[in-house]
Amino acid sequence: MNNNQDTYKKRNILSRFFSIFIYFGKSIYNKFKKFINRFKDGSIGTKLSHIFMGAGNIYHKQYIKGVIFFIIEAGFLALMILSPQVNSTPLGFKSIANFFTLGTEPGSIFLPTDNSMLMLLFGVICFGIIGMFIAVYGSSIKSSYKADLDVKAGKEATSFKEDIQALLDDRFHVAMLTPAIIGIITFTVLPTIFMIFIAFTNFDSLHPAGQVLFDWVGFDNFFAIFNGTGEISVRFGPVLGWTLVWAFFATSTNYIGGIFLALLINKKGIKLKKIWRTIFVLTIALPQFISLLAMRSILAEYGPINSMLINLHLIDDPIKFLATADSAWTARITIIFINIWIGVPYTMLMTSGILMNVPKDLYEAAQIDGATNRQAFRYITVPFILFVTAPFLITSFIGNITSFNVIYLLTGGGPTVPGYIAGETDLLVTWLYKLTIDQSEYNIGSVIAIMTFIITATATLLSYRRSKSYKEEDAFQ
């Protein structure tokens, strides 16, 4: 039975995967068909709109709208044809060619080197602009076609005022989402795509942008993980291993500790619950850079903890806990303990809320059946918490894989491994940060980012599709 379900689920994921492609193919085909139909059926204005955006709107006396569309087209064409130079790299139709060559001028006394990095970036931006223009182009034709239909139906084409009013009602989602989507495209989508492309180039410290040209290298950087003697092939395995170990322990210790603390505070008979809780919430409110740097100083070689341990005659020489620790595991265990301090209050807060929501009738029913407190706890409280917090466990596992602050502020990745950038406690993300920001090894950094993404995406896909929130997403609608 279980087995059957599993294979069913697997097939389901696969078929979902392929259905995405089929869906895309179909929707593109449909768009194209509509495009042809609009051209065939449309009025002269709509036909003209295919060349001069806004012509159809002007034809229908929607002057303001028409002019806006026309200005957008003129601006777009001007940008594409004139290709203005930004930082001496052209943006416009030339940037598309540059995207593929990544620069041809190696530089001489008379000519500056082409900036391959900017060329790649502008190529991506240019594709982004073209994409957004196509969206506007489509909507201009659609709007003219809609005016056609209105006139055919004996109505008047909508006035500018009516269009604005529609934006506040039927098309409210357009008005609300547009600013957010523009922000997301400019500051999340385009940069992410740019960084993915970087993984397929040889943009590293030997090819600084604007001084030496770099070029496309295909999948070489990915192959370098599995063979070769570079940083990435030697250190990738250990760093990935530690990242997973860390994420496992950080998640489980916080989870168990948080539930324990919540149960302790919410125990019947404990007074001043609110004050106890507030003390722990204090640590959530404190900026992490403060609490982590405080921890770092407390655990310093000549800090208060070491001196206390020496005074108690527990040790003779100070222990090096963090970046300078003699053994990697000293530093790693210390970090996991400090992370308990950081994370437990958060889980406690969340579980407290859940504890209060355990349906009371469950306990009453149990009491009638003669269950002891312990039994009620074992068979009602625990399963309920586990059931409700399961999605949280997965998100916090993913959060810990990409947890940057704790490692970076406590050890900076140390203890160092001689000859390599990645230290003993570096996670994939801190390694990626060091490689790109400090070492300018952009391509390797980018490969690591993609691998991180693959790991987190797999974890999410496996869990999210099955989670309550996704399945019941529509139940609320």
Binding site: G183, T188, L286, P304, T389
Partner: protein, 296 residues
């Protein structure tokens, strides 16, 4: 028979009492552990010990409780460092970006929760996928985009970066809006309300907790973040540091002066007081948001 029952009740009571005592002892120990580092920062900010040469001892020392206290560190912080400037910078950035990001987050959450349109499901899926990329993977590209348009090293760049991505953080607010019954909106629609009116006059007044939660996190963000700020501001421009960047460089910058730990601690306290106060006074809403986000 009755006696036996009483005895049993008595032993039950006493065992209850022991278990409570044990709980109190554990709680007290935990509170000490949790307050130890916080108190350490506070005590250090007040520590004003001088060496035989009359110099302030600002390094990390091995004794927990200071031998002398005073406000010298705070005086130095305000008179001799750029800290006041950093504080105002951060206040500026967080005041503007929290308004923009709260508006973006809430509007996307409302649209995703209550309106039906064609690309809704794909937008949801894309948002999840984008959220999985490590945030600073795109950071380098953002840095170069801003640099190409000569915006780096300004506070406006930081504001842009903090607020632009806010549209993606709509999950918790969406979960909250989902619970508001659709029948409310439907009856408003029958009365002729537009979608924008429903949003302003029905949804928003009902959503105080989630508005405060969103605004609180957006406001506190710039005070806590130092990864983005550090890359976008750069190390050279001490004038445009935020508090997190400034205090970090004070301790671990290019020229490490280990004698500034107590001044660093004073800075931390000045940052922590408003943030912690704000946070604790809004605790109720924060808890509501966290619980809503976790259960969904």
């Amino acid at each position: 028979m009755i006696k036996a029952k009483q005895l049993k009740a008595k032993s039950y009571k006493s065992s209850q009492r022991t278990s409570l005592t044990i709980s109190y002892i554990i709680l007290t120990i935990l509170v000490i552990v949790w307050l130890y580092p916080i108190l350490w920062i506070l005590l250090n900010s007040l520590r004003t010990e001088y060496n035989t040469g009359g110099q302030l001892i600002g390094i990390v020392v091995s004794h927990y409780f200071p031998k002398q206290i005073g406000f010298e560190n705070f005086r130095i912080l305000f008179a001799e460092t750029l800290f006041p400037r950093w504080f105002l910078n951060t206040l500026f950035v967080s005041s503007i970006s929290f308004i923009i990001s709260t508006m973006l987050t809430l509007s996307v959450a409302y649209v995703m929760s209550k309106l039906k349109f064609k690309v809704r499901k794909s937008f949801l899926n894309i948002a999840i996928i984008l959220g999985l990329f490590p945030g600073f993977m795109s950071m380098i590209a953002i840095y170069y985009i801003l640099k190409a348009f000569q915006l780096t090293q300004t506070l406006w760049a930081l504001i842009l970066v903090y607020s632009a991505g806010a549209g993606l953080g709509f999950y918790i607010a969406k979960g909250f809006f989902d619970i508001i019954p659709n029948s409310l909106l439907e009856s408003a629609k029958l009365d002729g309300a537009t979608n924008s009116q429903s949003f302003r006059k029905i949804i928003l007044p009902l959503s105080k907790p989630i508005i405060i939660y969103t605004a609180l996190l957006a406001f506190i963000g710039p005070w806590m973040d130092f990864i983005f700020a550090r890359v976008i501001i750069g190390e050279a421009n001490t004038d445009t540091y935020t508090v997190a960047v400034g205090l970090y460089y004070m301790m671990y910058g290019e020229q490490i002066d280990s004698n500034v730990f107590t001044i660093f601690a004073a800075g931390c306290i000045i940052v922590a007081i408003p943030i912690v106060t704000l946070f604790l006074s809004m605790q109720k809403y924060y808890v509501e948001g966290v619980t809503a986000g976790s259960v969904k």
